[in-house]
Symmetry: C2
Subunit: 193 residues, 2 copies
């Protein structure tokens, strides 16, 4: 099976030898999911690390009014991993759902552990992945507390314009922390400038 996208992802983050990457990625297995399918449901324990090769996904929670709050939007290629559930083997708080037809590669916790403890390069890679994810989340948090909705919308539009062709505005609205009617008004306001 073709693992070029996954292999390239390793090389893009970090100088690492081709053979080592192939050694790491050989345990990853391909699979596909249709649009609007649950990859990992709330309260389940995550047993895999997923690499999203093609497509769009999101994670979401239900608030006290049973409304879905989108906590993250994933654009391929990227890793999709519920860190807390996967590494501490405890139930997820979030549900992970495809937003388009998606193709994935997955590997087990056992394989991750073997590589983590045996391959110094994989250790460095996984730590770097944590650092990058943490930093992205921190940036988003800062944006949420210090910018208004219109700025957050414009930033997303600039950084990830393709999301708007692939993800419904309702989902994008909750990701931006506003209602769908507010987002609609913001878009109207932006378009006439």
């Amino acid at each position: 099976m073709d693992k070029r996208i996954l292999n390239n992802y390793f090389h893009s983050l970090f100088p690492i030898e081709k053979e080592i990457v192939q050694n790491i990625t050989k345990t990853f297995k391909h699979f596909q999911l249709d649009k609007n399918t649950i990859l990992l449901a709330k309260n389940k324990i995550s047993t895999k690390t997923y690499f999203l090769e093609h497509g769009y996904m999101r994670s979401y929670i239900l608030n006290e009014d049973n409304e879905e709050i989108t906590t993250n939007i994933y654009t391929a290629p990227c890793f999709v991993n519920d860190f807390l559930s996967f590494f501490k083997q405890q139930p997820t708080k979030e549900t992970y759902q495809t937003l388009s037809d998606c193709s994935f590669l997955e590997t087990s916790l056992e394989n991750v552990q073997t590589n983590f403890h045996n391959l110094p390069e994989f250790r460095e890679f996984s730590r770097l992945l944590f650092v990058i994810n943490y930093s992205k989340l921190n940036d988003r948090m800062i944006e949420m507390v210090s910018q208004k909705a219109k700025t957050r919308y414009l930033n997303l539009l600039k950084q990830n314009p393709h999301v708007f062709q692939n993800v419904s505005l309702k989902i994008i609205a909750s990701y931006l922390g506003v209602t769908d009617s507010s987002l609609s008004r913001i878009r109207k306001n932006v378009s006439k400038m």
Copy 2:
């Protein structure tokens, strides 16, 4: 020097042998800072991992209007680490400042790397620290987008009441993502219930 608090912190997170913890913590060095001192300034490259043994700290950024936005409040005992700056050796976006007299333990990137690659238990510990920090940040982000200011205030009051005795309301307000006048009104409203 007494490293009981640091050693206990390791044991509290994770089942790990006493000798291994002592081996890890032996490279940590004590130091102290007065209230309102900069531990790590914006645009500097972090060279140390810090463990806050006693006291309160915060990290903050300046927004476009040159107002300080508190991005995190640290309550001892805990690790204080700018992951991106420390592990990627790039300039920080945030400034780290003490909010009370503080005592710290610090160790260098070289020591962290040695332990990370030589001690399986330390690898597991550092990954767990990442997982916990990521998860906390994610919870806070969800709270920010889905709860209103009053709820966020009440949650902080419940989870960390001591912060209110040690950190000014102005700083807590910006941490909660509201202005200090709003927080003042929220407190007034809460107190008369």
